[in-house]
């Protein structure tokens, strides 16, 4: 009997532990295994506040359970008449002052971090030659995709943000249509992209993303923005500075690249006729495109932010975008394409790559 009980206890303990461990989530999206200074600082604040709050909860629970256990009428008898107490000034003072002290303790790191995270002065710093010293990315959130412009480098990409590790990366955030919110949970907190003003903040990417499951961090839209809000994902590739510079150079080298309607390749031809008015295939440029820049499409991780990166998914997407992302702005923008054309254009798009 006792043994059975013990076993049961062990089992339930294990079950609780499993749930608890899995409660940390996947490395590439959870806030509980953060990378980089911003995410880590926010995580520390989380632990610190949980500690204080756990203390409060435990004290309250103990008092509450003790009070209740001692005061049950089933124990005291039906006729027991408690003393009618009005209150106690001493107690009132105690439970006013102690919470105030606890909150003050929590307020200090809160205020420090609030000002620290809002400090984007370094964005405008320039070296002797007048070049900006920090990397800035202009993020434009659109229904339901993300555009990333690197103004100093003169390049633009979409859906997959590429950033160097171990340095502050500054972001200018704006929405083109409705309000969205830019969030990379594993790297740090979010900031809204408003329609009428540019929000600025910074993040730090502490480790390269190559070792992660998909080789990327997951990014999310965190503000309800329409039917496909849930599907407005982006990915973040964090690489070391040298690799980043190479990537920038490769992007800059695509200057002038375009698709030709005269091409003998059916895919390129179709692309030029049906896609090119919205989708650029050159990484050089600025934000403001109708559709995501596809220069690096072949190097990406997902089709349309959520589908598996394969030709089949791409064909599926081109055939009927509405079925995958309801409310998207691509549906109906290009004429009917035959299966042959779709297959060819998918091949063409999958072949767009700047990586060797």
């Amino acid at each position: 009997m006792m043994k059975g009980l013990k076993k049961w206890r062990l089992f339930s303990l294990l079950a609780v532990m499993t749930v608890f461990l899995s409660a940390c989530g996947e490395e590439y999206i959870t806030t509980l295994k953060p990378t980089g200074a911003v995410g880590k600082e926010q995580f520390n604040l989380l632990l610190f506040s949980i500690a204080i709050m756990a203390l409060v909860t435990i004290v309250v629970s103990v008092l509450y359970l003790y009070a209740f256990m001692k005061a049950r009428r089933s124990k005291l008898g039906e006729d027991y008449m408690p003393k009618q107490v009005e209150g106690s000034h001493t107690l009132e003072v105690i439970w006013t002052v102690i919470p105030i002290i606890l909150l003050l303790i929590l307020a200090v790191p809160t205020l420090i971090s609030t000002y620290k995270f809002a400090d984007v002065k370094a964005m405008d710093k320039v070296d002797e030659e007048g070049n900006k010293t920090a990397l800035t990315v202009n993020v434009t959130a659109k229904l339901y995709w993300w555009e990333f412009e690197y103004p100093e480098q003169g390049i633009v990409t979409a859906q997959e943000l590429v950033v160097p590790t171990d340095e502050k990366v500054y972001f200018n955030l704006k929405a083109a249509d409705v309000k969205h919110s830019f969030w990379i949970p594993a790297v740090g907190g979010k900031m809204d992209t408003n329609v009428e003003n540019v929000n600025k903040f910074y993040l730090e990417f502490g480790e390269e993303s190559a070792d992660l499951k998909d080789g990327v961090f997951y990014g999310k839209c965190a503000e309800l923005c329409g039917p496909s809000h849930a599907l407005m994902d982006f990915k973040v590739k964090a690489v070391d500075r040298n690799e980043f510079n190479d990537w920038v150079a490769a992007m800059q080298a695509t200057e002038g690249a375009t698709a030709s309607a005269e091409s003998t390749d059916l895919g390129e031809q179709t692309f030029a006729n049906s896609c090119l008015m919205c989708h650029a295939v050159s990484g050089v440029g600025a934000s403001g495109a109708m559709g995501p820049n596809l220069t690096t499409f072949g190097d990406r991780n997902r089709v349309a932010g959520v589908l598996e990166h394969s030709k089949e998914s791409l064909e599926e997407w081109v055939k009927d975008p509405e079925a995958i992302k309801p409310g998207n702005l691509m549906t109906g923008k290009y004429g009917e394409l035959s299966d042959e054309e779709i297959s060819a254009v998918a091949d063409y798009i999958m072949g767009l790559s700047i990586e060797e």
């Binding site: 989530g25 107490v85 609030t114 979010k190 009428e196 600025k200 849930a230």
Partner: protein, 630 residues
Amino acid sequence: MSSAAVTNKKGFGATLWDYLTTVDHKKLGVMYLFAGTLFFAIAGFEALLMRLQLMIPNNDFVSAGTFNELLTMHGTTMLFLAATPLLFGFMNAIVPLQIGARDVAFPFLNSLGFWLFFLGALFLHLSFFLGGAPDAGWTNYASLALYSPGHGIDFYVLGLQISGAGTLISGINFIVTIITMRAPGMTFMRMPLFTWTSLISSALILFAFPPLTVGLFLMLVDRMFEANFFDHTMGGNTIIWEHLFWIFGHPEVYILVLPAFGLFSEIIPVFARKRLFGYSSMVFATILIGFLGFMVWAHHMFTTGLGATANAIFAVATMAIAVPTGMKVFNWIMTIWGGSVKVTVPMLYALGFIPSFVAGGVTGVMQAAAPLDYQLHDSYFIVAHFHYVIVGGIVTAIFGSMHFYWPIMFNRALSEKLGVWTFWIFFIGFHCTFFIQHFLGLMGMPRRVFTFQADQGWDLFNFISSIGAILMAIGVILLVINIIITAKSKPLNCRDYWGDGRSLEWAIKTPVPFYNFKQTPLVRGYDPYWLEKHEGNKEGMIYAEPLGDIHMPNNSILPLVMSIGTFVAAFGALYHPDGKAWAIPVLILGLAITVGAMIVRSVKDDLGFHVHVEEVIATEEHLYGKGGNK
């Protein structure tokens, strides 16, 4: 009219007419309660559909567009059309009894408030049948709301405008009632805590609803009459909506939770058989929460980009609210401390409320830390937090008080046995649904997503959460069954059903006659009924006046007519942007009905009527048998 109380059975038509025209606070309380329960069930069903959709990854149980409509209507309905009227139901039914009044200060306005609320709610729900419900979230952020096609948002704006007007009117009514209509001896510091919290909550309505009215109006003219408040290409600014909405929206939470606090402050002393600990500090804490509630709205906008200083100020102000709330929790615990606790169903809810609400409160403080909130904001952590506060605080209060006050409101008692089952199933389901969602949020799951991909580590917890939602639904169904069974049970015809009643509402016999106390009671201290009981007063109370004629207000159909006018006008406004020729005439017709009814109301004398002494005695005999006050 005055003889209506004495007549026995009335036909269905007469009963219906009676309810359509009534200005009696008790009947309106019942109407609020049932309307609230109806909308609670609808919104709960919407929640269940959402949880079923999110039970497994990549589910296609409901479509993306439908899901957004469900989440919008769930939030909007629960806050405006379920929690508010349910609490108003208790406020209407109980507050006048608690202060020993015959009725509220403006019985006519009380009825108008109800009908505006009800027709506004009805209008909003018609959207499901007329081209789609609103889909921009209950917060209805301006850029998305302006972008949203169809009439969904228009239904939201107009429906809430109408029902909001009703809420505001009721709020004013309660403030005036509590200020002017207290029985002799009922000083402010002798008022029961539910009356206090109703007063403060009404004051919050007074200051919180006008910004919403303005916000809704701006949205209305932007969408229907081509104004440019939120169109940034024309110089507009969508952040104005966020501010106006949250200046309303944050106090709204306190508008709901304060009466819930009040209800628990009534329940706990009765079942602990002990005076509420620290009454004056409870009153002080209530006022302080109400006051601070207006200083913290921007904590909903930490990620909007208001700047470090604004975030810092609002972070600290938000943390400060934890202090008076903590005071309340400790006072409840100390009320239990050294008492004699009888675990009835209302007390079960109160006992379940304390830890649940503390859990919801501490996560609230965590979000007050702005930099941490950058991670938590708009994630499932928030969803978990506010459900802990709203379900753990407000819904438990409503369910508990249903059991607690059913004897006074309906002269029948809800089944305790079924109640215990309801409580446990609902309570376990609630924690199962929402506790796990804290972790989902921390694991990176944004809120308001209609589906999620399988590879993100969220599958198990979403599944558990959905199971919890099913349990909660079963709990609510049991409660409804309980209500139906109870309707057929024997009337109680008693006084002080729970045996340890303390405040005035327990001094009155059930069924409560339409004029409440036949003589206005004299209040000699805090917990007046307890005081009289323990001084051996068999009469129940000492009375401040001799038995005499009672002056009562007339019933009126005009509140319903006025509300129908706004309802009609709303259709005109709604279809105006479609270029329908009849839209503007309908709008004018509707407003004409409302204004016409108002003019009729103000031109006609309405002096009420007198119930003569003989009639009072006859009524008492009819209700309680010969011997009257036995």
